[in-house]
Symmetry: C2
Subunit: 154 residues, 2 copies
């Protein structure tokens, strides 16, 4: 997967969180992920379907960062990782994927997005079943980390 594919997702994630939750996240270095361990507590996932490519995206948040984003969006910090947090993570995944989809369409790469599925649970694993490499991109601020995973069947 070339960098032209990854950058729109990185830009969309930092932009969505800045706009929606006044949250600045510092992106780290993308790398290949070879294990299936989720790096956080709640993951929003979206299936991607194009004529020539299929793939999947996940955005995993550590609980502390997810709670702070809820706090900034709704003015109240949740007490537990409940369905409201899960809904928010799904909406963030949707907005990030939609932003990247638009940027990639302008470069001639069209794909459709499935509806998000959000999974939560301590020590869950995420196994993207694709033929291509699985890329993981870390993001961080003082409240915790988030991890964007993306992969395509190519």
């Amino acid at each position: 997967m070339n960098v032209a594919f990854i950058n729109p997702f990185i830009a969309a994630l930092t932009n969505v969180l800045k706009t929606m939750a006044q949250t600045e996240l510092k992106p780290g270095k993308p790398s290949k992920k070879s294990d299936t361990k989720a790096r956080g507590d709640v993951s929003g996932m979206i299936g991607l379907v194009g004529e020539e490519l299929q793939g999947s995206l996940s955005i995993t948040f550590e609980q502390g960062l997810a709670f702070e984003i809820m706090n900034r969006m709704l003015g109240e910090k949740p007490a537990e990782l409940d369905d409201e947090v899960s809904d928010m993570v799904g909406e963030i995944a949707n907005m990030v994927c939609g932003g990247a989809k638009q940027a990639l369409a302008e470069q001639g790469h069209e794909f459709g997005m499935a509806t998000p599925i959000v999974v939560s649970g301590k020590d869950h694993s995420i196994n993207h079943l694709v033929d291509g490499p699985k890329m993981i991109m870390p993001f961080t601020n003082e409240f915790g980390n988030a991890y964007l995973e993306i992969c395509f069947n190519k």
Copy 2:
């Protein structure tokens, strides 16, 4: 969601497990799912994208049933819920979804499939973010239960 949409998925799941793993599963009654608790230990998920519909599917297995299916397919019972089990659950989700896709296409309902994502972990939750109802269908045999969840944005 009408029953014409659900039945091809039920038929595909029983058929795939019978053919691939000589495993008979008895389907129970479909119902609406209103919580987000996963009913098992490992879930294969696939995003669905059509021109007029989007949605998501998940198939969750209790560990005992997943292990017995591995045993029948590979002749060896796994010791833990590892990536091999996870890969198998993703392949099953892919085959079930592919079977239902073909049956639904013959009825004029076309959709594309994303690549599978498999999540595992004790007490994980699955939150499908759609506007429409979320249907859950139980399947059972003497080794345990499986649960097919499907929903569309309609």
